[in-house]
């Protein structure tokens, strides 16, 4: 029982980080119906950035978020402008899958050239610190990471709900044509929206780098988990992604406790499979004609 609750705590904390990564991905899908296969690669790139900032300049990975987030936003917006915007053709949806996959490869290639392929990890002073709460151990890094993720998710929610830009994004998600008719600059919303989605990778990258050793190929592990989360939550639904992220985090860490860590990976996919059997559109996805 103790181990189970311990696993539960761990799962919620890890799930929060997945929720942040997945929220960006599902936002991107909502805005332009692009499944961003490069999200994991952007997370790893951010982890490397945080690594460099920490080892070279001694900037704490949590503070580095202030630098990496705007950077990732710009890279994301530029990437959209360069590679996705030109795809305004009949099969843009499928082509965009290929483009984002190519982007992931490009990032992986650049990272492995710059950093070689050995595993890196960010070892801060508090890396191994942990708190004891009522007999349960809570790792400091995980707790801070979780809190940061929740704060950023709140910020994302605020941007989407309270700002003009956020309203333009939500309008585009609901109905691109009507939004355009009402004066929303679709090209700009798409570029900035993609940037916004990618910028969530920055903070999650810092946290990921603190939690796990990583190398340039790690994005494959990440992307499969992220995709499970996004589909489970319902493509395009940020709230769904957050819930699904936490749910899957809990399921996999409980599976690791009850069963074995090697197989906890599979729990993502088992959950995904079960959901697809019952509800192909995910927990909070809307059924769109031709989409699901």
């Amino acid at each position: 029982m103790h181990a189970l609750i311990q696993g539960l705590i761990l799962g919620v904390l890890t799930g929060g980080v997945y929720a942040l990564m997945a929220s960006g991905q599902t936002l991107i899908f909502g805005i332009m119906k692009v499944v961003n296969l490069a999200q994991g690669a952007f997370v790893i790139a951010s982890a490397y950035l945080a690594f460099t900032l920490f080892t070279r300049f001694g900037i704490d990975p949590f503070l580095a978020v202030l630098i990496t987030t705007p950077l990732m936003f710009c890279i994301g917006a530029a990437g959209q402008w360069l590679f996705l915007r030109p795809l305004r053709r009949e099969n843009a949806a499928e082509l965009s899958l290929l483009v984002t996959f190519a982007l992931a490869l490009l990032i992986e290639g650049i990272l492995s050239v710059t950093y070689s392929t050995t595993y890196r990890s960010i070892n801060t002073g508090y890396a191994n610190k942990s708190f004891e709460v009522a007999g349960y151990t809570v790792s400091a890094v995980r707790l801070y990471g979780f809190l940061l993720s929740i704060a950023l998710l709140g910020l994302l929610y605020g941007v989407l709900q309270k700002t003009r830009f956020g309203r333009a994004i939500r309008a585009t998600v609901q109905n691109p044509q009507s939004a355009a008719l009402l004066g929303v600059d679709a090209t700009r919303v798409q570029a900035y929206g993609f940037g916004l989605g990618i910028s969530t990778a920055a903070a999650s990258g810092s946290i990921f780098g603190l939690l796990y050793p990583f190398q340039s190929g790690s994005h494959y592990d990440l992307i499969s988990r992220l995709l499970s989360v996004v589909v489970l939550g319902g493509l395009g639904s940020i709230g769904g992604a957050v819930l699904a992220g936490i749910a899957i985090g809990v399921v996999s860490s409980v599976a690791a406790v009850l069963w074995s860590p090697t197989w906890s990976e599979m729990s993502f996919f088992v959950v995904l499979l079960l959901v697809l059997l019952v509800r192909p559109q995910g927990m909070f996805g809307r059924v769109e004609r031709g989409a699901v």
Partner: protein
Amino acid sequence: MTTASMHQSRLVTPAGLTRASAFTALLVALPLVFNAHWMVNLLFFTVLYAAMSVAWNLIGGYAGYPSLGHAAFFGLGAYGVSLVFTGSQVLSNGYEPFLLLPLVGLGAGLIALPIGLIAMRTRADVFAIVTITLLFVAQTLAFNLKGLTGGAQGASVAPPPFRLEIFEQPFYFAAAALLLLAMGLTYLAVRTKIGLALTAIRADEDKARGIGIRTTAVKLMAFSVSVGLVAMAGGIWAYYVGFVYPQFAVDPLLTIAIVLMTFLGGRATLWGPVLGAAILMPAQQLLAYYVGGSRLYLIAYAAIFLLIILLLPRGVLPTVFHRRRLSALAATASQAEAQAVPSTGPEVLRPPTVMASEPSYVQTSAGERR
């Protein structure tokens, strides 16, 4: 659908036969003419990938279900062959493994049925996601089911006893036979109602079901055949390389390579994937040869990848056919203008489904029926 292509509903046409036999002759002649080891090796991989691209095209091109999980079945075939090898005393390591391949394909095709049934509850992007997840499931299984796959240590296949001078050739001919089989099946599908059903599904699945096409059955069949063929390719590959590691047997790059080849040559065309493989595979090997040692390979590969998609989003063959059709149309138009005689083409019933929603697709369909 153009009127011309609707008239040619016969399964076997003289032109088709000529093309098929010429291509077969070419496939047979190639390794005999260019018989250097590196050349036959390159030819083997080109033909193997061409076969897989043609197979992918069935479901990803014609039916519009962009599967990113085909590598899972490639791995299935590879491990299937290695398992039967180590598990049975009956099988020797001569030509018998090749005879095993149809069984491997059949088995993979059967396994694909329930998987396809679940995965095809989703469409387009979501289907792509589900299938790419399938790929990672397969990879995790390959790493973790150590009893069957040997885990990260890999599984070995007995070395083939072929003479060194012609070592690659049996594998090449097996791959070539697979390519011909894949193309034959595609041709058969396209020339029969199945092809129409697949295109209708791609154009608008709900409408297709509405007019009475058994969409689920057709989709499942295409998926099953497609991954069955890929599994057979995996089997040949396993016997050729002799060692099956999870990260190479179930490789996301493999999936993406066959998708890219199909897109480059032209989706939903019979020859497009072959052309794509013939261009990309040598390019890939060349790239690996020159920058393979360094990590620049991935960057170069991704750059080529992006260039192809941005510059040739439609693929080579459809672009060519489109141009040709446009110029033909322009010619007839100017002719008609000169003569001022109304066009007298016979009115022919057109299948309504394919006309439905994708005008661009209809434009290129003249080429697709070749």
